[in-house]
């Protein structure tokens, strides 16, 4: 948890956490902007046959949400267990003035897809644009 909102009769407050003071300060700012304009939060739950398929499903799911719900996401909290995923994702409403789009992504492909979970974890993915 990055921060929690504290209720108070007259004021409103937050308690922000972090691994060190740097992160706690960052999270305090994040919390303040949450109070100013709450981010929209959605939950995503996916089940695939393996982690490679899961990666494609995950990114395609976010693309689908972007196109249909008009949300641009900036915060992602992902928990993977086997080939299933639970995530909480935060974002805000898309507005063309505020979010000039650099690249239109049509879909996530299976081209040269890589998922490495040992040692230095990395994933590699190509998009159709």
């Amino acid at each position: 948890m990055d921060y929690e909102v504290l209720s108070h009769t007259a004021e409103t407050g937050i308690r922000a956490y972090g691994r060190d003071l740097n992160q706690s300060f960052s999270n305090a700012a994040k919390g303040m902007f949450y109070l100013i304009k709450p981010a929209q939060e959605i939950k995503i739950s996916l089940q695939s046959s393996n982690t490679k398929e899961l990666l494609v499903d995950w990114l395609n799911e976010l693309l689908f949400r972007f196109e249909t719900e008009g949300l641009v996401f900036s915060q992602f909290n992902v928990r993977i267990s086997g080939a299933s995923l639970k995530a909480s994702v935060k974002g805000e409403e898309y507005s063309p003035e505020k979010h000039p789009i650099k690249t239109q992504i049509k879909a996530t492909t299976y081209h040269n897809l890589e998922v490495e979970s040992n040692n230095q974890a990395y994933v590699q993915v190509y998009f159709d644009v």
Binding site: E67, T68, Y94, K102, T103, Q104, A107, Y126
Partner: protein
């Protein structure tokens, strides 16, 4: 040891798996024609045929494109060869510019062989205007087109359709739109398949595709899609030019877009579910992106029925954009669209899988013909063309980059003998999008084009650089090879005067 390169799944082992690269050496078999023999990769059931000149075939060798051509040749039921058109470049699964036909009984249908933008295509609208006489009005016209045609990412369409109406629309295609007051009845005849792909079943389309497609009908999108106002600067074949209703100096409008989020979702849905299908039917894929199912299997039939809906969505999309284009012309020139001669020359699909009849070794066979970044190129003998074009062959449009030119060609009977009546679809990329941005910025590019007298309206100027002329092969080379190989014949050259991008 790690083996690299697309499609290489495992070290050789024994026996090697399909797609394992043996030797990708081509040999010239005719002018502009190279063969990639069976055995270039493990499991090929037919050779690869690449239409190219020497520099192009050398480049293909470097790019790993040949591996993709060979991979397609491993799919069950492939007939004759895995073909690559002269604008070939690296794609996902199939190369862009790939053509492959599979037997309708024993062969497969592959969402990867159609691509994500199902029925991405091009149409050309004629006018009776002389470009020279209206040059002053082009900037205002481009501005008006940009106001009336929604574009860019998140650009919402001006049509509001319920899921039920959309389901009707994607079954009915262009005739549905005409019935509902968009466009002209005459437009129907001048659309490939008359803008109505048969076999569409709206129940095979996911609710996600309907959600994505609901407010995108009649929108341009982004990327390489465009509306261009062009001038016919050169004609090559007087009879074809006359038949197509073109003349030197004429103002025309080219529209290039596809099936938007609706088609992208159909492709993603079926690519996902078809992942395990090959194992079920006893074949192995060299590349996951080539996911395929037997044409006659329930999975294959379901994809075909959903793809057909997306084909119709794309035709509708270009048709609705045509409607807005006509309104924009009427507003700027203060004359009716019919007085301005805004008639449809033709509309072609360059991403799709169609059931077509072709002659193979003297026998007429029903085939599932995949064209991914390739255009149908029916000559006079193939039939199924508008009465007006029956002696010339179908019009083919090859859009080039926005700084140079585009071409109108005509289909040939020779292309039927060669490659199931197919030809190229565009200039073909030379540089990646990132590579293009290193060469020029969007602002510089816009200024340079405008200095050449080309009005540019774009939703996002920095992205414009991705489509810089330098990023593409010269389309002239592509059409020269296509003509040299007999796949299509040059009819007219078009130069851009105004460009609208997403």
């Amino acid at each position: 040891m790690k083996l690299e390169g697309p499609g290489v799944l495992s070290p050789a082992g024994f026996p090697p798996r399909p797609g394992y690269r043996m030797t990708l050496l081509t040999r010239k078999i005719a002018d502009y024609t190279y063969e990639l023999p069976i055995g270039a990769v493990e499991g090929m059931r037919a050779p690869g045929i690449i239409y190219a000149d020497e520099p192009l075939i050398k480049k293909a060798q470097d790019e790993g494109v040949l591996q993709q051509v060979a991979n397609v040749a491993t799919l069950p039921g492939i007939v004759k060869a895995s073909f690559a058109m002269p604008d070939i470049h690296l794609g996902y699964g199939f190369a862009v510019g790939g053509v492959a036909a599979f037997d309708a009984k024993d062969g497969v249908i592959s969402p990867g062989g159609v691509g994500f933008d199902i029925n991405c295509g091009v149409r050309l609208l004629k006018t009776s205007l002389e470009a020279a006489a209206v040059k002053e009005q082009i900037p205002a016209l481009m501005h008006e087109l940009s106001r009336s045609i929604p574009k860019g990412v998140g650009g919402k369409g001006r049509l509001r359709l319920s899921e039920g109406e959309l389901a009707e629309a994607v079954v009915g295609g262009v005739p549905w739109a005409v019935k509902n007051g968009y466009g002209e009845a005459a437009d129907i005849e001048f659309c490939e398949e008359e803008g109505h792909f048969h076999g569409a079943n709206p129940d095979k389309v996911s609710s996600r595709a309907y959600e994505r497609g609901a407010n995108q009908l009649g929108t341009l999108g982004a990327g390489n899609h465009f509306v261009e106002v062009q001038e016919v600067t050169r004609t090559f074949n007087q009879e074809a030019t006359r038949t197509f209703g073109l003349f030197k100096g004429q103002l025309v409008v080219m529209i290039h877009t596809g099936s938007r989020g609706f088609g992208h979702q159909v492709a993603s849905d079926y690519l996902k579910t078809m992942g395990t299908v090959p194992t079920k039917y006893g074949f192995e894929l060299p590349d996951r992106q080539l996911a395929a199912a037997p044409v006659t299997s329930p999975e294959g039939k379901a994809y075909y029925a959903a793809m057909a809906c997306a084909m119709n969505y794309a035709w509708l999309n270009r048709h609705i954009i045509t409607h807005f284009t006509r309104l924009s012309f009427e507003y700027i020139f203060r004359k009716s669209a019919s007085t301005l001669g805004l008639d449809l020359l033709y509309d072609i699909a360059h991403n799709g899988a169609k059931l077509e009849k072709h002659e193979v070794n003297g026998q007429v066979r029903e085939l599932s013909v995949h064209r991914k970044g390739a255009t149908r190129s029916f000559g006079p003998k193939m039939g199924g063309l508008p009465e007006t074009y029956k002696d010339i062959g179908q019009p083919v449009f090859i859009p080039g980059d926005m700084g140079r030119a585009s071409f109108v060609l005509s289909g040939t009977d020779e292309s039927e003998k060669q490659a199931f009546s197919s030809t190229a679809h565009g200039a073909g990329r030379l540089l990646s999008r990132k590579g293009a941005k290193k060469i020029i910025s969007g602002v510089e590019l816009k200024a340079r084009l405008e200095a050449k007298g080309i009005t540019v309206v774009a939703g996002h100027i920095p992205s414009l650089a991705e489509e810089a002329p330098e990023a593409y092969k010269d389309v002239q080379e592509v059409v020269d090879i296509a003509e040299g190989a007999g796949l299509s014949l040059k009819v007219a050259k078009l130069k851009p005067l105004g460009v609208l991008k997403g």
